[in-house]
Symmetry: C2
Subunit: 402 residues, 2 copies
């Protein structure tokens, strides 16, 4: 059905368009679509004045975007002054949709987001995936994807691409899970397991969570560090609105920053890593609670009930997070640190000691620490929106599907 | 004489050229100049085939670059086959030059680098600047700049811009030194103190050192962490060939990453920062040596003489560097760590324990640690080359000088 709209990772490695008439046309198509997406509905004249092209050039570009189903005419505006009334243009709610999927430790979820950014279809399956082989898990995920695509098609949408969030490290090829410790997956090529008609872009859940924060968060700055805790402690570094990936795609391993360098051995080979103090298992143990599937849920519940051990363990974890984040803030000088994913739910108990530690270790104003509004929804939304952004950034790609 | 060629920082915040015919022409001028700079001398036909434009389009662009003094004709090539012989084009050695300057704790230095990357003039003044007021220091620097510009002009070059490396934090405005602890400068606007006809771009010496490594180093990868020690411990993070600056321009403060979080108080407000273990003063003290102006020189000399205290102190410093770099490598996943600036001279005694620590704390292959060939020359060369790169990246700017 559809060819891949993006190779590798659309959100960070935008394909450089050649500096030719054809490349210029593609970039201008993107500028028109972005103008309407950011500020629309807009008339052709309003688009022209916003992006600095002539009315005639904009009309030609708009015609193409309407033909491809990316823009739609809202009908003639009531003219406020003499002259031919302009027709307002809006981003289409019946064109391409981004399909996002998430493989969680305890769930699978899929959604379809239209070019306007609205979730139009959704499916979830609860059940533990820990220790299951990749193949049956991906088969179930495929069934959910088919269901969501069918629902979206009934609304006049078509899938422009599939992006999958996983709780593990992903190679820079954008489809191989190098290691997902809580699933026990190693070197799993998800592109080979998912249907060939919808080749996926795969990324770490912390990365997609950070992108969701960037795109959908309330006034999220373009430079921030997003910290989440779906598996141990993950982080994503966003610089100038782009994810920092690192050479192998492994950047953001905040969980293995040494906090007490002579501390306990960690599975990573290090000693006294942040995960030994603020990872789910370590915190559960310190709180005197039984290890459980939904560790974060248990901790939040107990801390909410004033369980002394849970509160103290979270306070200590906040202190360890504060030490590791002091190092990260010194290296990166971000505008903010955002606690997202599962950590967002524990913020009330982590934040006081975390903020104290950061402030004590900094001269001048400490880096602000905020809590994500998206919480555990972030990775799934980030995945779907990454496909939508790829279309907005290069609309001509939709003509390349076979 | 010359208007500023770049506002802010040419090397990282390239001015986005508008997507118009004019913008396309400017970008194509840069592509022609880069092609000759990277692979020259080249004929017009060879340029055309390399950058994918027609021979006619390239000829027009070349004519402009020759007229502006950026390219020069080497005369007709010997034709290997029938047809009109093409004339080979080379980057001019008589056009614009980048003027680099460095305010060191114990020296001032200035150089002029031509578009071919060759140092064509140079001046140095030795003498302690620690604790001197900015004004007399900058007056001496200005005299050196005048001398180097005069020398360069005698060779047919003209100054395309001035870039100044300083041992301190620089605001994102690109000209205000927020704090240079070893000079005791605070909030010093160097643009106001330097001559108005050559407004400077100012940056931290660690940043210019890292850029020099990127541009001039042997096979330096596009993603690396550059660690230097002109003042305490500085680092620069290079991602995709660009400096990561941070919100306030303070990124790369490796010296204040907590290594032993309950360790001694640091002037930054923190505890157990890397500088408390691997900064010049701390290492001298641990070695049982007197504090001196050229701490690194003293340490290298004593360690070379097998001074037991110096060797042990450097081994311990290497260990602390290894712990802080483990955190940095986990966060950034760089392709390499490069020891530059003054640290390059201490590498023989720092590296064994540093590498051990990194390897012990990592599963799989540890991030490679290499030593810069440029050493303490890096910041000055990086400054001068930043001006040269600004011209190569947007040659039309040279027409904008008044």
């Amino acid at each position: 059905m559809t060819a891949p709209l993006h190779e590798g990772r659309p959100t960070t490695t935008r394909r450089a368009l050649p500096d030719t008439q054809q490349g210029m046309r593609r970039r201008n198509l993107a500028r028109v679509l972005h103008a309407v997406s950011d500020e629309g509905p807009l008339s052709r004249a309003a688009i022209a004045s916003r992006i600095g092209l002539t009315r005639a050039a904009v009309s030609t570009l708009v015609d193409e975007l309407v033909r491809w189903g990316l823009l739609e005419e809202l009908g003639p505006e009531r003219p406020n002054r003499v002259g031919r009334p302009g027709s307002a243009l809006a981003v289409s709610g019946r064109g391409p949709a981004g399909i996002g999927a998430e493989v969680g430790v305890d769930h699978l979820s899929v959604c379809a987001v239209d070019l306007r950014g609205e979730v139009r279809a959704r499916a979830v399956r609860h059940g533990a995936n820990r220790g299951r082989a990749p193949k049956p898990v991906v088969q179930e995920l495929t069934a959910l994807v088919r269901q969501v695509v069918a629902d979206a098609e009934r609304e006049g949408l078509w899938p422009a691409g599939l992006a999958v969030a996983v709780p593990g490290l992903v190679a820079r090829d954008g489809h191989t899970v190098v290691h997902a410790p809580n699933l026990d997956w190693h070197g799993t090529d998800l592109r080979a397991l998912l249907p060939a008609d919808l080749p996926p872009t795969v990324d770490n859940e912390a990365n997609f969570g950070a992108l969701a924060e960037l795109w959908l968060g309330d006034a999220t700055p373009p430079d921030f560090l997003h910290v989440s805790a779906e598996i141990g402690i993950g982080a994503a570094v966003v610089v100038d609105g782009r994810l920092l990936r690192g050479k192998r795609g492994f950047a953001g391993e905040l969980g293995h920053v040494p906090v007490h360098p002579d501390g306990p051995r960690c599975a990573c080979g290090g000693r006294g890593c942040l995960e030994q103090y603020a990872g789910e298992e370590a915190v559960l143990r310190a709180a005197g609670l039984e290890p459980r599937g939904d560790a974060v849920g248990v901790l939040a519940q107990r801390a909410g009930e004033d369980h002394e051990g849970a509160r103290r363990a979270l306070e200590d974890a906040g202190r360890a997070l504060g030490i590791a984040l002091t190092g990260a803030v010194n290296l990166l000088d971000p505008e903010a640190v955002v606690l997202g994913g599962a950590l967002a739910g524990l913020a009330p108990w982590l934040l006081p000691s975390l903020r104290n530690e950061l402030a004590d270790r900094t001269t001048g104003p400490a880096c602000p620490v905020t809590v994500s509004r998206l919480g555990s929804e972030g990775p799934l939304l980030g995945a779907a929106h990454s496909v939508v952004r790829a279309v907005l950034d290069d609309p001509a790609r939709v003509t390349e599907r076979s």
